[in-house]
Amino acid sequence: MDQLLQNAISALAAGAIYSIAALGFGVVYNATKVMNFAHGEFLMMGALISAALVNSAGVQVVLAVAIASVIVTLLGIILDRYVIQMAVRKTVLTAVMITIGAGIAFRGLMVVTVGRDMLFPPAFEGIKTVTVGSIYLPSQVIWILLLLAALSVALAYLFSSTRLGKAMRAASDNPRAAMLCGIDIRAMSLVAFAIAASTGALAGAFVAPISSAFYESGLFFGLKGFAAAMLGGLGNPIGAVLGGMLIGLIETGSAGYVTSVFKDAIALGLLILVLIVKPDGLLGRAEAKRV
């Protein structure tokens, strides 16, 4: 029983990361109808840059995470403004291949700047590990859950109560009408990418002490984020969190029965299943189906 609860805690941490990835992915999809296949690289870069700053340059953790987030956000904005929006033809394949290429370029950038080594940054300070009976809640897990809570609240507030958030929702629901109301669609798109990049970078930086930072980890971050997003309902923020948690649980739950390598395959298998059987996800898409 205790082992079960202990496993559930690891699941929470993993799930929270997938939830944040799914949230960012959904924000971009809602705003631009583009599936950003480079999304996982935002997490990877957040992890790698902050880890490199802490380990090699001795930068203070808070500052390192902040710098990493800023850099990744800038890269996200460049991706949208100077790459995707410049594309001559914008078919689905073009957008997909552009984002995949961008992901590879990001990976290559990391290799050139930070290197191919796997980095192990230390856990964040400030919170002590909590122990309840024989179960312990590692401090980093608490940090991750706090991050998820903070981001969820921030995004919920943004989209429901601020002018910017409402403008973004209008732009994603009906771009033409939004433009007629004076909303700058391209700016909304930029903001969406900035949100996705920054939240992704934070998630990556927060999980790096647990899972290490490595230039190849973007693919799996991305795919599991997609799985969480599709499972919960693409573009649906509550679905993103639900999906992320479910994937985290299923992964950790299966870790006892299959080797750790296969547990990655399970999340992917789930993604394929959802796509084929119920692409709307458990909670349905954010947008209403137009007749």
């Binding site: 599936m35 296949f37 790459v83 410049m86 594309a87 001559v88 033809r89 078919t91 689905v92 394949l93 073009t94 997909v96 291949m97 552009i98 995949i100 290429g101 961008a102 992901g103 590879i104 370029a105 990001f106 990976r107 290559g108 950038l109 290799v111 050139v112 693919l219 795919l223 997609f226 799985a227 599709m230 080797t259 390598v261 296969f262 990655d264 395959a265 992917l268 298998g269 993604l271 394929i272 796509l275 084929i276 692409p279």
Partner: protein
């Protein structure tokens, strides 16, 4: 009319001549090895051009079929004791059948979801290949010491011999593909891309057609995989990582979305490029990623296609003849 559509004779001859010349000009066996790999990749790229360029199916999971073809061929020879040609054929059939079975559920997906699903499939296959030790030997040692390909009693091993086998297979694949494109089914495929509704109202089973193309494409990729197995004779799952799927798709995009020969050019570029960047190991990923983005942003019809189109447009401006234009269009597949 001959066995090859008239518009394909010139490119076919060009390729044949270049292949023969390259063999004699190649300084070392290493160069021949690289060129043989180009041919093998080329077969996969042609397959993907058919599936994607003509039937509009985005697949980011070709590495799965490539590996399946390789492992099936190896299994047939090493574990079932079958002759190598039979193993090769089995690889083709297993991939074709798998492609056929996967096609119906996959093709119901819209393009975005299809891209995601095939990407995930490629990664799942990679994981399975790495773990399924009884069939694949896992990550280490994988398959080793596979007997070479035997045709009519001749053992074909090493780049000097496999060069001809692989380029021959590529040529046949291109011609078969061209025959398909120039047929009634080929026309239906092209029509399908513009308007699926209109095409089905003309009596074309559009879903069935796309399933067929996907199955055919998968079998060809299986052929490439099988040839890879008999050429390398030792390999492990690391050869079939998801990056391979992206590489093959890039070959299609560098080449052309509307001619099969473009895929050959694409295979040449993508396979040879990393070798040229030797010494700049560090920068390979970055350069590849940037190149990919640049091609997709500025040349979405395929880099070679854009160059060819620009060339044709320049020629037409000089001659100013509508008839030439029509003849060109009639000639292009």
């Amino acid at each position: 009319m001959t066995t090859i559509p008239s518009s394909e004779i010139k490119p076919a001859l060009a390729v044949v001549i270049l292949v023969i010349v390259a063999y004699f000009l190649a300084p070392t066996d290493f160069h021949l090895t690289v060129l043989t790999i180009v041919a093998i990749h080329g077969i996969a790229a042609v397959a993907l051009t058919l599936a994607f360029g003509y039937a509009g199916l985005i697949s980011l999971g070709s590495s799965a079929f490539f590996g399946l073809g390789a492992y099936t061929a190896a299994f047939a020879v090493q574990k079932m004791g079958l002759p190598s040609l039979v193993g090769l054929l089995m690889g083709v059939l297993v991939c074709g059948t798998t492609g056929y079975l996967l096609a119906r559920p996959l093709l119901r997906l819209n393009s975005h979801y299809l891209a995601m699903a095939t990407l995930a499939l490629g990664v799942v296959a990679y994981i399975v290949y790495g773990q399924a030790r009884p069939f694949t030997g896992g990550l280490d040692p994988g398959i080793f010491g596979l007997e070479p390909l035997q045709i009519f009693g001749f053992k074909l091993a090493g780049p000097r011999q496999m060069y001809w086998v692989c380029w021959g297979a590529l040529l046949i694949s291109c011609l078969a593909g061209a025959n398909l494109v120039h047929s009634a089914r080929g026309r239906a495929m092209r029509a399908l891309r513009t308007s699926e509704v209109a095409t089905s109202c003309l009596g074309v089973d559009t879903v069935g057609l796309r399933v067929m193309v996907f199955a055919l494409s998968s079998s060809l990729i299986g052929l490439a995989g099988g040839l890879y197995a008999f050429f390398m004779r030792s390999f492990a799952a690391s050869a079939f990582d998801p990056g391979l799927s992206i590489d093959i798709l890039m070959m299609v995009l560098i080449g052309s979305m509307s001619t099969l020969w473009g895929a050959v050019v694409g295979a040449l570029v993508i396979t040879v490029l990393p070798n040229l960047l030797e010494g700049f190991e560090h920068y390979k990923l970055l350069v590849f990623g940037l190149a990919m983005v640049a091609v997709m942003v500025f040349f979405p019809n395929g880099l070679v296609q854009s160059i060819v189109d620009a060339f044709k447009a320049a020629v037409l401006r000089r001659s100013g003849s509508v008839a030439t234009d029509d003849a060109e269009r009639r000639a292009a597949p």
